[in-house]
Symmetry: C2
Amino acid sequence: MSRPLRADAARNRELLLLSARELFAKRGLDVTLDEIARNAGVGVGTAYRRFANKDALIEALFEDQLDRMVRLATESLDKVGTWDGFVEAIGSFTAQMVADRGLRDVVFRNYGRGDRIAKLRERFVPTMEAVVRRAQEAGVLRADAAPTDLPIIEIMIGVVDVFAEPVRAGLYPRYLTLILDGLRARPGLTPLPVPALTNDEFDRLTLIPPPPGL
Amino acid sequence: MSRPLRADAARNRELLLLSARELFAKRGLDVTLDEIARNAGVGVGTAYRRFANKDALIEALFEDQLDRMVRLATESLDKVGTWDGFVEAIGSFTAQMVADRGLRDVVFRNYGRGDRIAKLRERFVPTMEAVVRRAQEAGVLRADAAPTDLPIIEIMIGVVDVFAEPVRAGLYPRYLTLILDGLRARPGLTPLPVPALTNDEFDRLTLIPPPPGL
DNA sequence: TACTAGCGGAGGCGGCATCTCCGGTTAGGG
DNA sequence: CCCTAACCGGAGATGCCGCCTCCGCTAGTA
């Protein structure tokens, strides 16, 4: 469609993407384009010449990242029939989410006019449902757990990680373990008192403006 | 020290406190003084004449609220020897926290130059420790749970509540139940993989500037 | 009535993120 | 090697937002 970029321009574009990936991962989507540019060693002007705005950069950056997550989730499907397998699947998924704050922002905070998120959800939903169904059929996951519990758990864990990080990186597995212990099928569990969010409710949550301070 | 306020001034002061309590509870500490004033039906000027700045208002407002929380926690001490008692204690404490977003902000986000928070923590810490110790001695709480797990759990639950609120108020008990099921002493638990925060670490967390997006 | 505490709210101030603009530089085709 | 279009840097325009002040007017109170 358009002529190829001059060599230096192409290089700068890569530098910007690299820098953005790094900063988004570390600090979430609200880092400044200015800062991304500075970190990349280029001027702000260059940043805005390559990417119309921050959203364009985000889109370019997270398209494949999301792919990876969905694939990861899908591949884990065949191990969730045992408790250890389920734990491992949730664990490695969570590890990805925790490692990239930008990714969490893309998934859980309203981003883009909902289009991208909607498409993403379309692909995540069946996988979450399958994971929960299989683990329940195998009798390892408590029967009253629901698919939307999984993203909610990711949110809780993400917050713990962000909160604790300044004084102690890597605290989150403690709480993930705690929650997984509560998720395991066993006698004597307290029935979960209120129904989980429906897919539709969860969808709406990702679309509406996030209440300040997610 | 100073002359008593004129009648209308005193009334406005009350209106402001009332308004602030309402808005802080509903939306957290970052509501504007301007908004509080408007909601109270007074001018901004009046607000700033009564309270030197937002912090002064917050201090005036939360001093007793914090007292109530500490008292609530202390009173619950004698029921935590049974599982149902423990659940009830945590449940009612959590209900208070969830009902007031401002309270959570005061407790968990760096507020005031640390002075007030430090004093607060001083009073909370022994109670948390006693709750955990007693419940563990009674054999109802898993042995590897720690006092600082309690505030972390409050944080997780708080986030779920804030996140879900726009489409479904009152979702949080589902996840509180889940976590409590993981907290209960029973055979076959997975040992918690990393140590809990120490009191000191937790203290530091409440003092340092919160990473954007707690 | 008179005196002053108190009132409302427009707007000044400072900070912050997004994005633009333009004078200077450089890649790379001829 | 040279020339020009493509590209660069980054100062600063723009817009927004929250905190707080100031001042002309109102109304308690002695």
